[in-house]
């Protein structure tokens, strides 16, 4: 568990705004390297680990595992007088979590920023009782405006600063657990598979740009052309304001996605693997389980049978996302058992 905590902390703390996944990419590459025959990075920035299976017949069978490594972020739109930065969202963010938050502005060098708004005594009664929207917020990097102009340009990204912290009962809190929890499960699964010498070839891909488009996953699917794919994602965790109809309990295992993006055959095999390993799972029924990556991977080339495993995460898209380490471990075990068992498809 200590090894997983330190891996997840490294993943959570690295930055990867959509389109600028260099920092997290390097962390993921290093973590995947011991368990793969080859780790490459494509033009998009997707990190692709290839573990060759024991099969001898051609054409070789291939499975794609995909977890996205980008995170929701902000994009600088303008530098105001006084050096205050105006911004828009990069991925879906709730503007209400930003006041009082700390961010890293990825300028020429990383700058520590603070999200603020109009001073309290100057807010009208109407303003002080409502939500401040993105255009009313700013990032303060505590530098003179000439210096800000030198360091930051519109188009630069900013990521939320989280404080990676273990909570009780194997839960952890930090930023970007969506989908670094999935990335961690994928790395752990590959580690188990390296030991098990599976028959199929495995492409474990940490994808880019999921939070805005899923185009990273599309590129990586075309380059590997898998026979089947499984997406390792996150889904909503239950909480006082997230009911059992809307979310999934933490610590009860991954949610198996069922819906338009998911192939029934893959789901059946995932259930079989769960039963075999004794891993508990939940069922997530939705139109598009597995996020944007599942949508594009399913539709790549002649169509890829796709399955989805999602780890429940509370407070998704905030700096204080909460996930269960046990869910990451069981997702990795289930994933590895599923792959190790692959012989024929369908």
């Amino acid at each position: 568990m200590d090894e997983l905590i330190s891996l997840l902390q490294k993943l959570s703390e690295a930055s990867g705004p959509p389109g600028s996944e260099g920092d997290i990419g390097a962390v993921v590459k290093e973590a995947l390297t011991p368990f793969a025959d080859e780790v490459t990075q494509d033009k998009f920035g997707n990190v692709i680990a290839h573990l060759r299976g024991t099969q001898t017949c051609e054409p070789r069978k291939k499975i794609l595992l995909a977890a996205h490594m980008d995170e929701v972020a902000l994009i600088i739109t303008r530098i105001d007088e006084g050096g205050y930065l105006r911004f828009a969202e990069l991925g879906g963010l709730d503007p209400r979590i930003l006041l009082g938050a700390e961010v890293t502005v990825h300028g020429r060098k990383p700058l520590h920023g603070f999200v603020g708004t109009k001073a309290p005594h100057l807010q009208t009664k109407e303003e002080s009782s409502r939500v401040m929207d993105f255009e009313e917020l700013f990032i303060d990097v505590a530098l003179p405006s000439e210096e800000v102009e030198k360091q930051v340009r519109p188009g630069d990204a900013a990521t939320l600063i989280g404080c990676f912290t273990p909570l009780q009962n194997s839960l952890v809190s930090g930023k970007a657990l969506d989908d670094r929890a999935g990335v961690a499960a994928m790395i752990q699964a590959l580690k188990l598979l390296k030991r098990d010498s599976p028959s199929w070839d495995i492409y474990a891909v940490a994808t880019v740009q999921e939070e805005i488009s899923g185009l990273g996953a599309l590129a990586s699917t075309w380059s590997s052309v898998p026979d089947i794919a499984v997406i390792l994602e996150t889904t909503y965790g239950t909480a006082p304001d997230v009911s059992e109809r809307e979310g999934f309990d933490l610590g009860q295992g991954p949610a198996l996605g069922m819906g338009m993006t998911v192939h029934h055959g893959v789901t059946r095999k995932l259930k079989g693997a769960a039963q075999k390993t004794g891993v508990s799972y939940q069922i997530e029924v939705g139109l598009y389980p597995g996020g944007k990556d599942a949508v594009v991977i399913q539709l790549a080339k002649e169509g890829i049978p796709t399955g989805v495993l999602s780890i429940p995460v509370r407070n998704m898209h905030t700096p204080v996302e909460v996930a269960s380490l046990e869910d990451i471990v069981s997702t990795a075990r289930l994933m590895a058992a599923f792959v190790a068992d692959l012989k024929e498809w369908p």
Binding site: D80, E81, G82, Y84, G92, L93, D94, P95, R96, I97, L99, G100, A101, E102, H112, F114, G116, T117, K118, A119, P120, H121, L122, S128, S129, R130, V131, M132, F138, D140, A142, L143, C163, T165, P166, L167, Q168, N169, S170, L171, S173, Y236, A239, P240, D241, V242, E246, G247, R314, N315, M316, H317, T318, P319, V320, V322
Partner: protein
């Protein structure tokens, strides 16, 4: 000097001390000042009152800084193990969503949770302010019993922000209102002083200047100065209107706030001291906020009172920002003020 100020500010800022639960910060401050003072007492409300002897015994000067910080009080533990809470002190509901906290004297980490944007977007839930009474703290407990091993109703919770030197002349941290004042006061007690100085590190300022009420009675000041962290509102749209205070322009002096009309003669003395020493200073926008001086100038038959404050951005939020130069200049002014007060003949 700068290094000593920052080192003390870091220790004081990281200590927990939500109003009414100032134990941890009290111990941090008391152990720092103990070797440098002649008398050190804690009163019934938890105020730390220290006296340091000097050559003169008049006027009776009291300097005060409050130890407490805004935060939260655990009001209920749900069957599910999530904690409900109330705010302690003036915190805008809009700055607390999705922030990390430390709960209770055991510093149990927790976070204020929120429903994800994906599930509220269609009903435009992100356009309604999330009220503190509807929010909850997640410490990762399985259920109520599990939570009660670590937390009880009545425990406090504080922002978990760690102090940090940003390397650009600014530092950030929680509770800078008023650990800034506590830092200045603690370090003044390490100096050779021209007169007897009574230092009050007060409690419960954020919930109605309560500690100061009894500390004023006990110390009976003739002259009192509150050392504060006050908010700087030097933000973009506000260039044509009063900006409360501005970062980098030195200590902030008060004509009048919501708790007090400052003593004109004392204010003049402070201004003269600043000008003599070449220390920049600025005035706080009148009628904003209040301080312990508001309570202590009414003690017994009354005291001449004023405020010297360090301007800081985003006070009463999870993280505040202060310019080191302002901290140093405010310290210089406070020290010069003590000398000027000692040198002056005060009409009784």
């Amino acid at each position: 000097m700068t290094h000593r100020l920052l080192e003390a500010l870091e220790a004081f800022s990281n200590a927990l001390g939500v109003s009414g639960n100032e134990g941890e910060v009290r111990e941090t401050i008391a152990s720092r000042i103990r070797p440098h003072v002649d008398v050190l007492e804690t009163d019934a409300l938890g105020n730390v009152i220290a006296t340091k002897k000097g050559p003169k015994d008049s006027p009776r000067l009291v300097l005060s800084a409050h130890m407490d910080e805004v935060g939260f009080l655990i009001t209920h533990i749900e069957k599910s193990g999530f904690l409900r809470f109330a705010k302690v002190g003036g915190i805008d509901d809009r700055v607390i969503l999705a922030k990390p906290l430390l709960v209770g004297p055991k510093r149990i980490p927790g976070v204020i949770g929120t429903k994800p944007i994906h599930l509220i977007f269609q009903k435009e839930g992100h356009k309604k302010v999330a009220k503190a009474e509807d929010l909850y703290i997640d410490i990762g407990a399985k259920d109520r019993e599990d939570a009660r091993r670590l937390v009880e109703v009545g425990d406090f919770a504080a922002f978990a922000t760690r102090f940090q030197d940003l390397g650009n002349g600014f530092v950030k941290g929680k509770a800078l209102d008023d650990r800034l004042g506590c830092t200045l006061l603690a370090l003044l007690l390490e100096e050779d002083l021209p007169l007897i100085l009574t230092a009050v590190f007060s409690t419960q300022e954020e919930v109605g200047l309560r500690g100061a009420a009894v500390a004023g009675f006990r110390t009976s000041p003739q002259i009192m100065l509150a050392l504060e962290g006050t908010f700087a509102g030097d933000f973009p749209e506000e260039r044509d209107v009063s900006r409360a205070a501005v970062i980098g322009r030195g200590p902030v002096l008060t004509h009048q706030d919501r708790s007090m009309i400052g003593d004109p003669l004392l204010l003049e003395t402070l201004i003269a001291a600043a000008e003599k020493e070449g220390i920049p200073y600025q005035f706080k926008r009148p009628l904003l906020g209040g301080t312990d001086a508001g309570r202590m100038h009414l003690s017994r038959s009354g005291a001449r009172a004023s405020v010297i404050a360090v301007p800081a951005r985003y006070i009463h939020a999870p993280v505040a920002l202060v310019k080191i130069e302002d901290v140093v200049n405010t310290y210089r002014l406070a020290k010069a003020a003590i000398q000027a007060i000692a040198d002056k003949d005060w009409p009784s």
